[in-house]
């Protein structure tokens, strides 16, 4: 039994509205030792208009997970005595009302570990699930949120969000909690225990320890955990000390993972003037979303003032910040796109739920090559929107957005899209896609800057297989289909492309994930 399912003993129910002069600061100062991450979580609750909270005590007798965690702590630190755990739940309703599901905001598990000879406990947020305050209407995109049920003494409630956790620096370090957040996005249960992770990494707290005095997990440990759980991943490495210099920008790979609704982990080296040849200390954080700046100056200014001509604009250019958890600072923090530079970046894992033989950045480059080849073969059709697509392609002004897409999601998307004149794809064309597409594939959407960032619309998209070995040289065998204004390209056989006209001749909405 975990902390969400455990039956808690109610120890406090409190009104917290601003009009009641409730102070988050004072409460966290008095009750929880001014814990900074708890203060961050309380501030999220405030933004989400919480009016009351419920504090429950969770004991080992009621929670097998707590018993297992404490057992590991006792092995790691024989002076470990006991722990005290509070589950704090936040509600939009005051204490005078029985809360219903819409009143429930989220929860946090606060753990205090006591050791002999130490007057103060070691404290940390064992876990928390709060909904992100900023939503799609705030240009905030988090594709991989999970649904969690919490069994409180006031009833069962649910919350949708990204699980957050803090290390205790004894049995669990930043890599554990980063992995836990990322794995929670993908695993069927929406969570994993540290006991399982440590078993997979070979950490028994006796012969091999982590945390204070012992150090963190090595990348190989993290990979053992992922592989042991059958989780696939793409890896990006930048290690100047080993003369391994990443030839591209890691942000493109990171965006490629999260835009396909997968979580990622980003590891970096801290600036440390005292660092020796082995480098400074390192930290890793989970990344699972991004914000979007529709009015950003950067894409065109980068090209015009600071860089050479590019063949197209990656949609990542409009990304404003990555949405991350940092176990040191709290959940749902925004990391500006180029704040964490390559000087400090060292490692990225993009988790994924299916095998791919090439990544999003490579798929996008190949997709552009095929768009370009289509336009070379058919520079104009007389349809205004196809011809604009052709001009933007020829002049290097296309915006491309690449997503690993399930067939069922894509079919739902193309069944729903309409041009502004109301025209849809014809049923026989939909059937053709239904009959011939593989279960999962790369989709490269093509748009123009003003079409992409303001209307969130596109000229069309091109589909590539994701699991086919790349031929040398690259060739048309990687092409599945393309949908453009007034035209559909299929590749039914090896030698020829089938070109079909369609009544859908205008631009259409960009793809969105069904759960958004």
């Amino acid at each position: 039994m975990n902390f969400r399912q455990a039956i808690g003993k109610q120890i406090q129910r409190l009104d917290t509205g601003v009009e009641r002069n409730f102070s988050n600061f004072l409460f966290v100062d008095q009750k929880y030792g001014s814990h900074p991450v708890l203060r961050r979580i309380f501030s999220l609750a405030r933004k989400l208009k919480y009016q009351s909270l419920l504090i429950e005590q969770i004991t080992e007798a009621d929670c097998a997970l707590l018993a297992a965690e404490n057992k590991a702590l006792a092995v790691r630190r024989p002076d470990f005595q006991r722990s005290e755990v509070h589950r704090i739940s936040f509600f939009r309703s005051p204490t005078s009302q029985a809360p219903t599901q819409p009143d429930f905001i989220g929860y946090v598990i606060f753990k205090q570990d006591f050791f002999s000879g130490q007057s103060l406990p070691r404290v940390h947020v064992f876990e928390s699930v709060m909904p992100p305050f900023r939503q799609i209407e705030h240009n905030n995109f988090i594709h991989c949120q999970r649904h969690y049920e919490i069994n409180t003494s006031l009833g069962k409630f649910s919350v949708t969000g990204i699980l957050y956790a803090q290390q205790n620096d004894l049995t669990v370090v930043c890599a554990h909690v980063g992995l836990r957040t990322a794995l929670a996005c993908l695993l069927p249960d929406g969570d994993i225990t540290y006991e399982r992770m440590n078993t997979l990494a070979g950490i028994d707290h006796k012969t091999r320890q982590v945390g204070s005095g012992a150090g963190g997990l090595e990348p190989a440990d993290m990979e053992n955990i992922l592989t042991g759980l059958n989780i696939l991943f793409d890896k990006v490495v930048h290690e100047p000390s080993q003369a391994l210099l990443l030839p591209t920008e890691y942000q493109r790979d990171l965006y490629g993972a999260i835009e396909s609704s997968f979580p990622a982990l980003v590891g970096f080296e801290l600036d440390d003037p005292k660092a020796g040849a082995s480098g400074g200390p390192r930290h890793v954080i989970p990344v699972f979303g991004h914000t979007f700046n529709e009015d950003t100056w950067m894409p065109q200014a980068q090209r015009a003032y600071f860089g050479g001509l590019q063949s197209y604009f990656p949609s990542e250019n409009w990304l404003s910040t990555f949405v991350v958890h940092d176990d040191n600072f709290g959940p749902y923090l925004c990391l500006p796109r180029h704040f964490l530079k390559k000087d400090n970046f060292r490692l990225m894992y993009g988790l994924k739920s299916c095998p791919t033989t090439f990544n999003a950045v490579q798929a996008e480059a190949i997709g552009f090559a095929f768009f370009d080849a289509i336009v070379k073969g058919r520079p104009r059709t007389g349809n205004d929107w196809y011809d604009r697509f052709a001009v933007f392609t020829q002049q290097g002004w296309l915006v491309l957005r690449t997503i690993l897409t399930k067939k069922e999601d894509y079919l739902k998307h193309i069944e729903g899209i309409r041009a502004w004149d109301g025209m849809a794809l014809e049923p026989d064309i939909l059937q053709k896609f239904r009959d011939h597409l593989p279960p999962i594939f790369w989709m490269i959407e093509a748009s123009a800057p003003e079409l992409f960032n303001s209307s969130r619309r596109k000229f069309g998209e091109l589909l590539l297989p994701c699991d086919k070995a790349l031929p040398k040289p690259l060739n048309d065998s990687l092409f599945l289909a393309a949908r453009l204004p007034g035209l559909i390209y299929f590749r039914p056989g090896k030698l020829q492309l089938e070109v079909r006209p369609t009544q859908l001749k205008g631009h259409t909405l960009l793809f969105t994930f069904p759960n958004m």
Binding site: L244, H283, L474
Partner: protein, 69 residues
């Protein structure tokens, strides 16, 4: 002033070219169903080498495990 207008000028000129032809009237060249050789889908040398280089670096670093987190 930075001279960054060439790319914009080319795009603008091409779009004006489209606009100059009977905008708003029915298309004069309707697309008809047909087939084209698949090998029309060529991949440029730049894309070929970008994909090859990034894959080679990825292969080279696949088993690298440096540092602790």
């Amino acid at each position: 002033m930075a001279n960054m207008n060439e790319s914009i000028d080319q795009l603008t000129a091409s779009l004006q070219e489209l606009t100059a032809r009977t905008y708003g009237h029915a298309c004069s060249c309707e697309t008809v169903a047909g087939k084209v050789p698949a090998n029309e889908l060529q991949v440029s040398k730049e894309v070929e080498s970008f994909v090859a280089d990034t894959r080679a670096y990825s292969d080279k670093t696949r088993n690298v495990s440096v540092g602790r987190y």
